[in-house]
Amino acid sequence: MTERSLDDLLDEIALGLASAEDQSRIEAMAAQDAALAARLDRARQRFAPLDDTAPVLPLPQGFWQGIAARLDGATDLATTGSGETAPASGMVVDLARVKSRLGRWRGTALGAIAASLLLACVTGWTLLSPPAPLVIAVLMDAEGEAFALIESGADNTTRVTLLEPADVPAGQVMQVWTKPDEAGPPVSLGLLVEGSSRTLSISGLPAPGARQLYEITAEPAGGSPTNLPTGPILGVGLAKEPVL
């Protein structure tokens, strides 16, 4: 796809002219590609002033209740009455209220609570015992100092632990790259927007292997506009498989 036609497509998505298929394809790509996401956002922002030309209409009575009743996601049932006092800790309290009010929802509510508890247990267990990474890479800076530790699982969930305070100019962000195919182009794993260690996830890449290259560069805010590394290298290294 040429640059020209990509620009056309992004504009057509912003206007609502693109097919649902094209739109979801580009949005899925943008979810993994900061540069494309920024271009799509720019296309949308070009037309956004038109949103502000719409009249501000009064919201009808009960509008918020209609929304609040659907926030738990499980049902679209219309809860009646004084439903606006839901505390921030939402879910359990709300289900209890529904349960007491509507006996026939009791089973659903209990099931949901049980599912929540199970999910909490599973999540807790998963967090407490992370799977051993498939590969580990130590990224070195230009002085040969260890700059960051990369640990990636088979699904390319990549934990990036910075080992040195990052020296990133104002207005720039760190962007993490890898080369799943030694002969292919580098692929962005994501941005370290906060400038601190974090775990990045990406789908659609093959499981990482030994000698796979990882790199962190400094890029303009929002990520490399070309979707290839453009900025100075802050750390670079090859992955190894841990001996377990």
Partner: protein, 226 residues
């Protein structure tokens, strides 16, 4: 060893914040070379506006704070209803669309990434997508409730949208440089949600001509706004 592409050039300017956005994300509304010469001291907006930090509200939604969603609704719901009404032309469908959009925003709040675009833009994108989906479904399913259909002529809605764009904005100035038919077509698609086919039908123009005309117009807009 490096990944860096030596010849890679940076061709894209930094992201522009939502021009109409209040709050922390509001930035320079007009690129300077476009604003010179016209309405130099045009006051932006009117009256007082409560500052809304959309991004912070969406983050709060992600952490389960319902009051944040309610604040978002109070800040943007009326405008969202106006946007939905223009596209769907029915009060009941427009209300459904805005409620759906806010529920979707709540569910997707954790996916919002401020580094990838403005918060207000994110919210309106959800709304517009919802409206477009309903519009495309409506052709097949719903044609009842004629009494609720807003019968304001499309041309009038478009003229109002165009006229309400501040003359100081780049979009207004660049739209005004397009020929009338191209400008109408672009406005119809964004404001009314019309497809290429609908625009062709309404203007009695062959579909291929409409598509080509709009692409040329969009290219001119990009060049003009860049």
């Amino acid at each position: 060893m490096t990944l860096t592409t030596p010849g890679a050039s940076v061709t894209i300017a930094s992201r522009r914040p939502h021009p109409g956005g209040a709050g922390l994300t509001a930035g320079r509304p007009v690129s300077s070379h476009l604003s010179k010469g016209t309405c130099g001291s045009h006051p932006h907006g009117g009256g007082f506006k409560i500052e809304t930090d959309h991004a912070a509200l969406i983050r709060a939604c992600a952490s389960g704070d319902r009051s944040a969603l309610k604040t978002l609704m109070e800040a943007e719901g009326g405008r969202m209803l106006g946007v939905a009404r223009r596209m769907l032309r029915r009060a009941d469908l427009a209300e459904d669309a805005v409620q759906d959009a806010l529920v979707l925003a709540w569910r997707r709040a954790a996916q919002f990434d401020p580094s990838r675009g403005s918060a207000k833009g994110w919210l309106y994108t959800i709304l517009r997508n919802r409206c477009l989906t309903m519009l495309r479904q409506e052709d097949r399913e719903v044609s009842s409730g004629a009494s609720e259909v807003d019968d304001t002529p499309a041309a009038q809605v478009l003229a109002s949208a165009h006229g309400s764009l501040e003359t100081s904005t780049g979009l207004r100035q660049c739209l005004d440089r397009l020929d009338g038919a191209t400008r109408e077509a672009i406005l119809s698609s964004y404001v009314l949600g019309h497809s290429h086919g609908e625009i062709a039908g309404q203007t009695g123009t062959p579909l291929g001509t409409v598509k080509a005309r709009m692409r040329r117009g969009l290219l001119k807009l990009r060049e003009c706004l860049s």
